[in-house]
């Protein structure tokens, strides 16, 4: 059976996966997600999405999208589509969990 992993939804509450930390590497001038034997460099947008949508202090993904919509002054439907795509990818790579 070829199951497709579920997309992240606005009602999801996300946190960093075990062993994953958000880190600013000043030497390389990069923000990154550091995890077991791997890392993911975050560009400005990805960092903003992480901060807005992931963590114990975030009510749910919807709240994060609301915040980003204001911050980027963009249509909410577009922001939501991009954010959910990005978060799904981060979940599939093992950096965030529901």
């Amino acid at each position: 059976m070829n199951a497709i992993p579920p997309h992240i939804a606005e009602t999801d509450r996300l946190r960093l996966a075990p062993g994953v930390m958000l880190r600013n590497d000043r030497r390389r001038g990069q923000w990154m997600l550091m995890g077991p034997e791997r890392l993911l460099v975050l560009d400005e947008m990805a960092l903003a999405v992480m901060r807005a949508c992931v963590g114990p202090e975030v009510a749910d993904v919807a709240a994060g999208i609301d915040r980003l919509t204001v911050e980027y002054d963009a249509p909410r439907t577009e922001v939501a589509a991009d954010v959910l795509e990005m978060l799904t990818d981060l979940r599939n790579k093992g950096y965030v969990v529901t």
């Binding site: 199951a3 062993g19 390389r28 034997e37 890392l39 460099v41 560009d43 990805a46 990005m86």
Partner: protein, 372 residues
């Protein structure tokens, strides 16, 4: 977003980009005797191991050269009583620690101490999906059961768990059961690692090489499950070298992403580099990791693409696979300068199939257990 393990941009033409991680083989002591171990057959004795103060200095130098992570490995790193102290030091200086272990010397109290010292990730090896086969390979009675117990404790304590399953003739048929077991243990990641022939594994190749039929069945099984596993567990699938048509990007390229420090302090571009004749290896007593990384002769020897012979030099893939594996070229083609014969473009490629098929047919070959 960039993808995982990017190569960091070099700061200048003369200065290579910093490594991603330093692999620290704290010891070659190990209670297990796996015949597929990649440690050199000539194991370092316990008396030759670096002391605590020196390892802490090596950690400082790892941070200085720009590494972001350290792998505490061996042998079995948990035989070192100073492991907590070393992990605490790594944490203090901002390095991310990975503990690469058999887990048989761990218990909950020690796991808690290690976690308090800053450890967040434990990689545990599994020799098979069930105890009889696993303990026969590991040569350690009760090892498999202990590993499962510790693996569950790692997850319960909120640390990341990776299961490392080395596959060979004797367990490759049970790859699905191994995957199921990793899922059951709650692992966030699994390495499905077809054995690579270095060190003890190379010496035991005729006892380990799976058949083409076994390999095809395993590959179909793994690929068939990847869609269902996506989003649930991270899978690092290491395909078997000798059945490949293109070479692997060994270590992410010679002297590009990793450095290796042996128990007695030799600084290597990879764990098998000592097999290459005519190479000069410096130790941590000679110069700093930064100096060795930048212009150590062993590191410079095959870094980049200038050293490559044809057909590699003109190949479109040269900056993807970085010319494959030097140690494998030595083992299979007789020279570390040669094109990796695993590549179908190598003049020696056909001989890999001959060796492989001969070893795959050598059923009943007894292995030599790893040991001093």
């Amino acid at each position: 977003m960039s993808c995982a393990l990017p190569a960091f941009a070099a700061s200048s033409a003369a200065e290579p980009a910093p490594p991603f991680a330093v692999l620290m083989e704290l010891t070659h002591r190990c209670p297990l005797r796996c015949p597929y171990c990649s440690n050199p057959v000539a194991l370092d004795s316990a008396s030759a191991e670096l002391d605590t103060a020196t390892w802490k200095r090596v950690l400082d130098e790892a941070a200085d050269v720009g590494a972001l992570q350290v792998h505490f490995s061996g042998g079995e790193p948990c035989v070192r009583k100073d492991l907590e102290e070393l992990i605490a030091h790594a944490t203090e200086i901002g390095l991310y620690s990975n503990l690469i272990t058999s887990a048989v010397l761990l218990d909950r109290p020690r796991l808690e101490r290690l976690q308090r010292a800053g450890l967040q990730h434990v990689q545990i090896s599994l020799q098979d999906a069930e105890a009889t086969g696993a303990d026969r390979v590991g040569g350690f009675k009760g090892g498999h059961a202990k590993k499962l117990e510790v693996a569950r404790a790692v997850v319960r304590q909120g640390m990341a768990l990776t299961i490392n399953a080395v596959l060979h003739r004797h367990n490759i048929d049970r790859v699905n059961d191994v995957i199921d077991l990793a899922m059951d243990l709650g692992a966030g990641r699994i390495e499905i690692a077809n054995v690579q022939y270095y060190g003890w594994a190379l010496a035991n190749r005729a006892a380990l090489m799976p058949s083409r039929e076994q390999l095809l069945a395993m590959d179909a099984a793994v690929r068939g499950r990847l869609p269902e596993l996506a989003g649930r567990i991270v899978v690092d699938y290491v395909v078997p070298d000798y059945y490949a048509r293109r070479p692997k990007s060994c270590m992410g390229g010679w002297a590009r992403r990793f450095m290796n420090v042996t128990p007695r302090g030799r600084v290597l571009p990879c764990h098998a580099a000592e097999t290459i004749p005519g190479m000069t290896f410096e130790t941590v007593h000679d110069r700093s990791l930064s100096d060795i990384w930048r212009d150590g002769p062993a590191f410079a020897r095959y870094r980049g693409t200038d050293w490559m012979p044809e057909p590699c030099q003109s190949c479109d893939h040269k900056e993807e696979d970085w010319g494959g594996c030097r140690c494998q070229a030595l083992a299979l083609a007789g020279s570390a300068d040669a094109t990796d014969p695993v590549c179908e473009l190598s003049p020696a490629h056909a001989e890999v199939a001959v060796l492989r098929d001969r070893d795959a047919a050598a059923l009943g070959t007894e292995w030599t257990y790893r040991g001093l």
